[in-house]
């Protein structure tokens, strides 16, 4: 693993070799909330299969960057492209699988299965494909005990596993994970990293403050407070 620490600035560019067209290209990304500049002039490129950690304490702007890539937040300045498409466009959203704020992002009165199937339907061309995708993920991530439960009866860690499964739906080229292992037990963490390892062509961007997550990545971009 190669890590870099650039505390003076967020002007960081990945030095990993770009094997083919970049899946993610961020140029001069800045985001302000009022007069508070949360992210300043971030440059970042991710090639297929590359795994990068955005590392820093709470409130340092990591999640803001993920939201700009997912297309739920517009940059104040700069450009974000996913698979060559501007972030937030339909084509870009098709290429992104995201797990952002997991705790409040599911329909609590539905089961885990019904939730995953709903999101799979939005990313599949047929009902059969959607069901197959959910079934495959349920088996791969050993989620049967979670998908059978209504989400309002699941623990934080169980919901977090569902959030990760949802990010994998639709075979995205880029996966965005916000603190993906924060509430997971050791087995669940193993399944998460195993699933990412089985997708060597997928670029992964992880916002985290945990060293263990960083060690699983090829690159690290520091977000000082």
């Amino acid at each position: 693993m190669s890590t870099r620490l650039e505390r003076a600035s967020l002007q960081v560019r990945s030095e990993a070799p770009v094997a083919s067209r970049a899946v993610l290209e961020i140029t001069g990304l800045a985001r302000q909330f009022g007069s508070h500049e949360v992210v300043r002039a971030l440059d970042l490129t991710l090639a297929p299969g590359e795994r990068t950690a955005l590392w820093g304490p709470n409130g340092s702007g990591k999640s803001t960057v993920l939201r700009c890539i997912a297309g739920t937040l517009d940059p104040t300045r700069g450009d974000v492209r996913v698979d060559g498409h501007r972030a937030g466009t339909l084509a870009a959203r098709r290429a992104v699988g995201a797990s952002l704020a997991q705790e409040r992002s599911f329909y609590l009165r539905l089961t885990g299965w019904a939730n995953l199937l709903f999101f799979a339907r939005l990313r599949s061309s047929s009902e059969r494909e959607a069901r197959l995708r959910v079934a495959a993920l349920e088996e791969e991530l050993e989620l049967a005990h979670i998908t059978a439960e209504r989400v309002d009866r699941c623990s934080t860690g169980m919901v977090q596993q569902l959030g990760f499964a949802r990010a994998l739906l639709g075979d995205p080229k880029l996966i965005l994970l916000d603190e993906p292992t924060r509430s997971l037990d050791e087995d669940a963490r193993g399944r998460l990293w195993g699933a990412l390892d089985r997708r060597p062509g997928v670029a992964v961007l992880i916002a985290t403050h945990l060293k263990e997550d960083v060690e699983r990545c090829d690159e690290r971009v520091d977000f000082p407070h």
């Binding site: 739920t72 466009t89 952002l100 704020a101 009165r109 539905l110 709903f118 339907r121 939005l122």
Partner: protein, 277 residues
């Protein structure tokens, strides 16, 4: 900025609409008592108006009632259509508000669904439920409470119902855009839907209103929906003009409303308020 092609109906959209509608059905099914109470309240409402109608029988001028043989027949159609109009005009706004409060809106917006698919899909279940409820009211009104459908042009009935729903879905998408931006737009939505119903002849003929209010009611598109549906139901003719007006209203308002929804969504992305409530 999302490209203009986002506004077009894409082949994917029907799947997204079905998925959203089925999800909302599944969520609502978990509130079984709510389902039963909803229908129960609607039935009770009809019964109350049935007895009001019997009380005022012989009072007033039947010529004012769009061919309806009684006040109850007049108001039953008004109640059934009001539910459909309310769902078309307020369904999306209510659904968006629920998504904001439950925190699911952001994950929904991340999905590869266009503006049209999102707006129509979120409004689809409330609308389908309102249509079902309207059908039940008509059945109860006809089967148990004596409304006659001998003169009904059912083709005209369905055409007016569908064009009315299309016309007011434009308004519904506008109100959805309002909720995206101001969050707590429920009061505005409720007031607007109430005024549209009350001033357009849902519960009483426009002719009983003071002149200036009647003038306002006459130009409201909802008035065409009520008069068109009553004409189709009780006279069996003279509904096509109303359907055309509603269709024209839909043709103008729906594209404009989708544009407004697009800009509202863009505003929330710029302001960073998509995951706020």
């Amino acid at each position: 900025m999302t490209s203009a092609s986002t506004f077009l109906i894409r082949p994917r959209i029907p799947r997204a609409i079905l998925a959203l509608a089925y999800r909302d059905y599944a969520v609502n099914r978990t509130y079984r008592l709510g389902f039963i109470l909803d229908f129960g309240f609607g039935f009770a409402n009809l019964v109350v108006f049935y007895f009001i109608s019997r009380t005022v029988q012989g009072v007033g001028d039947l010529d004012r009632l769009n061919g309806a043989p009684s006040y109850f027949a007049f108001v039953a159609i008004g109640i059934a259509l009001s539910g459909v109009i309310t769902a078309a005009a307020a369904g999306l706004a209510q659904q968006l508000r629920e998504e904001q409060l439950s925190g699911t809106l952001e994950m929904l917006v991340v999905q590869p669904v266009g503006i049209s698919g999102l707006a129509i899909g979120l409004a689809a279940w409330p609308f389908a439920f309102a249509m079902l409820r309207a059908a039940l009211y008509i059945l109860v009104g006809g089967g148990l409470l004596g409304i006659s459908f001998r003169e009904t042009d059912w083709f005209g009935f369905v055409v007016v119902l569908i064009t009315a729903a299309a016309a007011f879905s434009g308004l519904g998408i506008f109100l959805g855009a309002l909720v995206l931006v101001v969050k707590r737009g429920g009061a505005v939505v409720g007031l607007l839907v109430f005024v549209l119903g009350a001033l357009s002849g849902a519960y009483f003929p426009l002719a009983v209103l003071p002149g200036w209010l009647e003038a306002i009611g006459t130009v409201l598109p909802t008035q065409h929906a009520f008069s068109g549906l009553r004409n189709a139901t009780f006279i069996g003719t003279d509904w096509a003009g109303s359907a055309l007006v509603l269709l024209a209203f839909a043709a103008v308002t729906v594209p404009l409303a989708l544009l407004a929804f697009h800009f509202a969504l863009r505003h929330t992305r710029r302001a960073g308020t998509l995951n706020q409530y």
